[in-house]
Symmetry: C2
Subunit: 359 residues, 2 copies
């Protein structure tokens, strides 16, 4: 366990507010009692506000990856033709999950560091008739690249009847993602990103079309069966013993988000991202993502000294992240996600200057 207070500048888990920590440390309570019934209902309703959706938002006790799997196994059947757009590690993960569960995957892979080209998505849909679903990462945490989801959604909906499944793990609650307006049928997210709560809870929103797919889906499912979760939510319960404390913490994180207001939260992330990118540019370092598609929640910086910089920053009390997958050792990543403060961002920039000057 980390003893001293670190400036946690990785792209999740994110720093916790005292209010969230207090709830996380509360006494145990009955997961089948009235209090929990009120809690799960309240939390799901607040999630609908943050997801900008009228759809069901279901709460899973699990990591973000459990929600990625849930999105696949609750909507698809073996042999279903699908397009998976990947611009990094988490897009690749979506593809891997779909492959493992027997989907007929058309991989639309872009190099690490660039966004998906909507034209190529259009071409893939024109070339491959009868695509059942398109899977796409909104914000790719491994590269700090933001896909143009609004544009991709338009193309998917104009050129196919496909279900649009969105990995919003690191974007929901931090980057604009109006689920219903952008016709996103399935959107998943996780507690340790924009919600400012510890990891351990995943969420899935399901549109009416997604539920139609659910009815036809033949993949076996139990723990991650969203139909069971929906039925239980209606009865103010979860199908399996839920992570009570995590859900109570999430409920508090949602209160904090709603009281700051989502537009203000989104702007705060944009401002921090611009500040970090400007500072990185001034230091003469190269940004991985193009400015037009740079992530508002994390900034990836190309340098052969990446691992050393992560290590030195750590000595200064600032925890940043290294590269992931093929970018290991080639980039470092600064998170500006969740309930960070201006002071934390300024401190990060100050320490980065100091570290860079000595390398």
């Amino acid at each position: 366990m980390q003893k001293k207070s670190f400036n946690l500048r990785i792209p999740g888990p994110t720093t916790l507010y005292p209010e969230v920590r207090k709830i996380m440390g509360s006494q145990a309570f009955n997961h089948r009692g009235q209090e929990f019934g009120a809690l799960i209902t309240e939390t799901s309703t607040k999630l609908q506000k943050i997801f900008h959706t009228k759809n069901d938002v279901l709460i899973i006790t699990g990591s973000g990856t459990s929600a990625m799997e849930a999105a696949v196994i609750n909507t698809l059947s073996e042999g279903d033709k699908i397009v998976v757009i990947s611009i990094g590690t988490f897009g690749d993960r979506f593809s891997q999950i779909a492959h493992i569960f027997g989907a007929n995957v058309i991989d639309l892979k872009f190099p690490y560091g660039v966004p998906a080209d909507p034209i190529e998505v259009k071409q893939a849909l024109k070339k491959n008739k009868g695509v059942k679903a398109v899977l796409v990462t909104h914000n790719e945490t491994s590269t700090g690249v933001l896909n143009d989801l609004e544009q991709i959604s338009k193309i998917v909906k104009q050129n196919s009847d496909a279900l649009l499944i969105v990995d919003g793990v690191s974007s929901v609650a931090a980057i604009a993602l109006p689920t219903d307006k952008w016709n996103c049928d399935v959107v998943i997210s996780a507690s340790q990103k924009g919600f400012g709560t510890p990891p351990g809870i995943a969420m899935v929103s399901m549109s009416d079309l997604a539920w139609k797919y659910y009815e036809k889906s033949k993949l076996p499912k139990y723990y991650l069966d969203l139909g069971r979760a929906r039925k239980s939510l209606f009865n103010k319960q979860t199908p399996w013993t839920p992570a009570t404390h995590q859900i109570a913490g999430l409920n508090k994180g949602l209160d904090l988000l709603l009281s700051e207001t989502l537009p203000a939260v989104i702007k705060r992330h944009q401002r921090a991202a611009e500040k970090v990118r400007t500072a990185v540019n001034k230091l003469g370092l190269e940004l991985l993502a193009p400015e037009s598609h740079a992530s508002p929640v994390l900034t990836a910086v190309k340098t052969k000294h990446a691992d050393e910089i992560v290590k030195e920053m750590r000595k200064k009390g600032v925890e940043i992240a290294g590269g992931y997958g093929p970018l290991k050792g080639k980039i470092f990543r600064i998170g500006h996600l969740g309930f960070f403060t201006d002071e934390e961002i300024d401190e990060t920039i100050k320490e980065l200057k100091g570290v860079i000057s000595k390398i």
Copy 2:
């Protein structure tokens, strides 16, 4: 959220010690850093002590049910002939999971309230050659009946080459379950039972034989793929972002267990169970379980006033549980599981006397 301090006498989630609550309320930390590496390794090693095993004990971010599913999908393939012993709701759940994932299930079902008859297990194995696995609940939380696992294990191993898969959700860390000595190949448990920590973490121990089954298992798996978990644990990580706070809390719960010592913990549960059963008998109420197989961690009491008693006890500040599944409204259940105190048990008995006298 429950505001006042309740005497939580349900069979999990259980009351949390201040030490565990403090850790649960700690600041966020890097799930890929050295601290977490030490934490996951330490926690898994301590779990081996509590499970009495040299086998790998893997940690899943999920409910106990996720570990039940993991036990099935990591060892079996579609069409595998298996025997599922059920003495209640959780045995039925194991059977349901196995059915859903396409196993060829021989259901060995006993009435709610009685333990499995080892002779019938022997007969089932003699009658059905080539059984790949036997699934059994150690302590059935829905009825408060403890199966004779030692005897069942002997019969399984003497009469078949089957893998023995044990649901130890409510028994590990509270009731004697020497995994290796009793040849239990897969044992699962969950954080909110004997470990005195909040729900949200599940554990699975896997024997060498279980890993051999894993290699042959053809069921698709990703989030709950224990091979990935084992590989990650070797690298002091988890494959997916783990519930950091829950694991830190579990690590603390394990410290408390190991410092009390497991034999003392087991005896404490037996003493509390005897005290509760004696009190219930004195009140003229009928116990559901036969004395010979009464659970050391919860006591189920038969009465047509069950729901009223639960409600009245709640008014007195004692939270007990009602019946589950077909026993709903027909029994109430008193939990004496986890880090309870003598005072809490005495208070429960006192309030129960008061409530019963007015019904």
